[in-house]
């Protein structure tokens, strides 16, 4: 125990300063990011940096995307989105569950699901 006390005594004032500064920085970063536009009623699905789908969260549906190691299945239901199936070893992306804001990433299969801007119904051209 005395070893611990010794170690604690070694902590300098600069250590504390650094600690406080870093905490302030990350907390303020947290607030900054809350304001970041990662909310909306559309979600985009990208694989390997390539945008494959931009789906409206108002339409319940399931889509599949092909990544380098297999097929990742994404489901939209009642305004939320989640990854239901993915070939990655840890299945961390699936465990994230439903999101309405932010993003889900499946790193091994290079899939990124991001909540994005609102679908204004604006189009570049009309057929008909």
């Amino acid at each position: 125990m005395s070893l611990l006390k010794e170690t604690l005594k070694e902590i300098t004032i600069y250590d504390w300063a650094l600690l406080v500064a870093l905490i302030l920085l990350s907390v303020s970063g947290l607030f900054l990011v809350k304001g970041l536009a990662l909310s909306g009623n559309t979600a985009s699905i990208e694989v390997n940096g390539k945008l494959l789908y931009r789906l409206s969260l108002n339409e319940d549906r399931t889509v599949e995307v092909h990544g380098p190691i297999g097929i990742t299945r994404v489901e939209v239901k009642q305004g939320k989105i989640r990854i239901t199936d993915s070939p990655c070893p840890n299945k961390l992306c699936i465990r994230q569950g439903w999101i309405k804001r932010g993003a889900i990433i499946c790193l091994p299969n290079r899939v990124v699901v991001t909540i994005g801007g609102d679908d204004t119904g604006e189009v570049d051209a009309i057929s008909g």
Binding site: N58, T62, G121, V123, D124, I126, S127
Partner: protein, 342 residues
């Protein structure tokens, strides 16, 4: 000292990873009245000059094709073919040949639902004067509608209408073909992303600035105004065309007479309000939209599936039918208003 440099370099590397893209890409849009309709081209480019030059080239190509393929001007090759119906084959340019060839291909694949020779019956209807032909007149002219009587000779590059009185009308396929050709011109002019809209026949490729895909709307067949759309979808290296009973029509005694005439009966095809086809080439989406409209919902969906094209069909009741693979790509607009009429 070396250590310090090493560390600084490391930090700089990390910081620079957040720097943004330097070259500014913008969209440029231009419209011209060609092929008897409004043609709008939108390109993405980092140089206004490059965009302008490319668009000019594309418009020139569409103009050239319009002159070859339109049925109205006596100088066009189509008119020449019609003038010589039952007389002799006419030598045509490669574009016209390719167009007719593809038209016949679609006719064959759709069992004659698309038929470029149907014009002779369509012309019996006058959508300005709001008149339609008698049953007897239709019966008389109907035998002249037969795509099999349009003979193409590949070696001589000629087209021949076997029977006198027959006429070929490229209207249902020429705009799609023009959109494809314009796209090719833009690509060879170095444009990385563009959208070509020849009226409702649209072809798009590449991505807009910000890596966003082109978005296209499908018109509400009973909507009010030009912006009333029932669905949107993203167009990634795809073409889209729509045929509807609202483009040229009149209503008489509660019955709608429109320009999509069934080549087999001579009467406007029923059961459908509009058909949208999505696929890689506009020449096919254009002609197939007509063909599927004529074929009706059930047969239309089947044909689309066989040919590997996607379609969205709206029946007379306003109900939407889609091919399965289109369901995940379409965003239906929440308000789908259709007026019920015949």
């Amino acid at each position: 000292m070396k250590r310090f440099l090493f560390i600084t370099l490391n930090l700089l590397l990390i910081l620079s990873s957040f720097s943004c893209n330097l070259r500014k890409e913008e969209t440029y849009r231009k419209s011209e009245f060609l092929m008897d309709t409004i043609v709008t081209i939108t390109v993405v480019s980092d140089s206004e000059k490059k965009a302008g030059d490319a668009m000019d080239k594309a418009f020139a190509e569409i103009k050239r094709l319009g002159q070859l393929l339109n049925s109205f001007s006596p100088d066009s090759e189509i008119s020449a073919i019609n003038r010589n119906a039952g007389i002799s084959p006419v030598k045509i340019s490669p574009d016209t040949y390719t167009l007719l060839e593809k038209g016949i291909e679609v006719s064959t694949e759709t069992g004659g639902a698309f038929d470029m020779t149907v014009g002779v019956v369509v012309n019996l209807y006058d959508f300005h004067k709001k008149t339609h032909p008698s049953d007897a007149l239709i019966r008389e002219k109907l035998p002249l509608v037969n795509f099999r009587d349009l003979i193409l000779n590949k070696d001589k590059r000629t087209a021949f209408l076997k029977r006198k009185g027959m006429s070929v009308d490229a209207g249902g396929i020429a705009k799609g073909y023009a959109a494809d050709r314009a796209t090719a011109v833009l690509k060879s002019a170095g444009i990385k992303a563009a959208l070509v809209a020849v009226a409702g026949d649209i072809r798009a490729y590449g991505l807009k600035p910000g890596e966003t895909p082109w978005r296209v709307g499908i018109r509400n067949p009973r909507g009010k105004g030009m912006d009333d759309i029932i669905a949107t979808l993203e167009l990634r290296d795809m073409a889209i065309s729509t045929s509807g009973d609202y483009e040229r029509f009149f209503i008489e005694n509660g019955k709608r007479y429109h320009h999509l005439i069934d080549p087999k009966t001579g009467y406007p095809a029923g059961g459908v309000m509009s058909v949208t086809v999505v696929g890689p080439l506009a020449v096919y989406t254009d002609s197939l939209a007509t063909a599927l409209f004529i074929s009706g919902i059930e047969k239309g969906l089947k044909i689309a599936g066989t040919l590997g094209y996607d379609t969205l069909m709206i029946d007379k009741a306003g109900k939407i039918h889609m091919t399965d693979s289109l369901k995940n790509k379409i965003t239906l607009q929440p308000r789908i208003k259709t007026n019920k009429d015949k």
